[in-house]
């Protein structure tokens, strides 16, 4: 009985393998698109602040400032200080975004889903030079 079951389990038809391979390609493509974004490599240069699906606004990290963003629930305050950024106030209930603390490395992201505000740090556009320079 077990022998027949294992034989059956291992039996993928060639068409199944075709489907499985394309599914794997899709997964790898999704990872490479959404996780290994090249603009999040290198030294952090700018802060992108985004509300809902509006296009993000960029702020330079070299200038200390407090940014007021209008979210879905209310205002959110984002602080830039010493090339780092954080939420200092948010109108959401859970305050996960505030507790997340400072963002300092390019690629760091904090999203406040209830308020639909997210901030992320972007690196220099010249990524490969930044990597070579680091080595």
């Amino acid at each position: 009985m077990t022998k027949t079951i294992t034989r059956k389990l291992l039996l993928f038809e060639p068409a199944d393998i075709l489907i499985l391979i394309s599914a794997c390609f899709l997964t790898v493509w999704l990872y490479s698109t959404f996780w290994f974004d090249l603009s999040s490599v290198g030294e952090a240069e700018t802060l992108l602040v985004q509300f809902a699906d509006h296009s993000p606004k960029a702020y330079s990290l070299s200038e200390d400032q407090i940014i007021n963003v209008k979210g879905r629930l209310g205002p959110a305050l984002i602080e830039i200080k010493q090339r780092k950024a954080r939420f200092i106030h948010s109108s959401c209930r859970n305050q996960f975004c505030v507790f997340h603390g400072w963002l300092s490395v390019a690629g760091d992201t904090t999203a406040c889903l209830p308020n639909r505000v997210s901030i992320s740090l972007k690196g220099t556009t010249n990524d490969y030079d930044a990597i070579a320079g680091a080595q």
Binding site: I5, K8, L9, L11, F12, E13, P14, A15, D16, L18, I19, L20, A23, C24, L26, T27, L30, Y31, F34, W35, Q50, A52, D53, T109, A111, L113, R116, S118
Partner: protein
Amino acid sequence: MKRHFTTTHQDHRVALLAALAITIHIIEAAFPSPLPGVKPGLANVVTLFTFMMYGWKTALQVSLLRVIISSLLLGTFLSPTFLLSLSGALLSLGSLIITQSLFYFLPQRTYLQPSAIGYAIVASISHMGGQFLMAWYFFIPHPGIFKLLPILITFAVILGIVSGIITQLTLSQLTKAPITKTRSTKR
């Protein structure tokens, strides 16, 4: 005045399969899921089984009945959960039909046609994709949610293979024919 309703064999079949799917759906809803959005989706085994045994029309009936009645029983009718469930079910069935019609143009040999495993992978990915797009469009319209998509699709592929194997075993048990129909007889 007395009215007579006659039920056909097809109605009984749909009712039986839908009842099975609803039961599985509700039992599954009682278990907590490790990740939000990731569920084994064992109720889709019934849909897939129906699709492969009786065609897409029966599968559509069973799947719609399953979504509507189990949402009524769980108390999520017309709620976001219901919308997610409905869009997932419809999109996965639609992609099953598309896959079948794509492979229809190939010769009808067993090894050229996908088995339940292939169909289950397609159904699982499109189910997850449909729910995800629905969630993104209506509930969390924020591009940050796309960071979650690769993980969800990875789980969809794995769970799709599992449910495909279950469906294939069920099919082979119920049709009393070995899975390797053409190949085992040739050898």
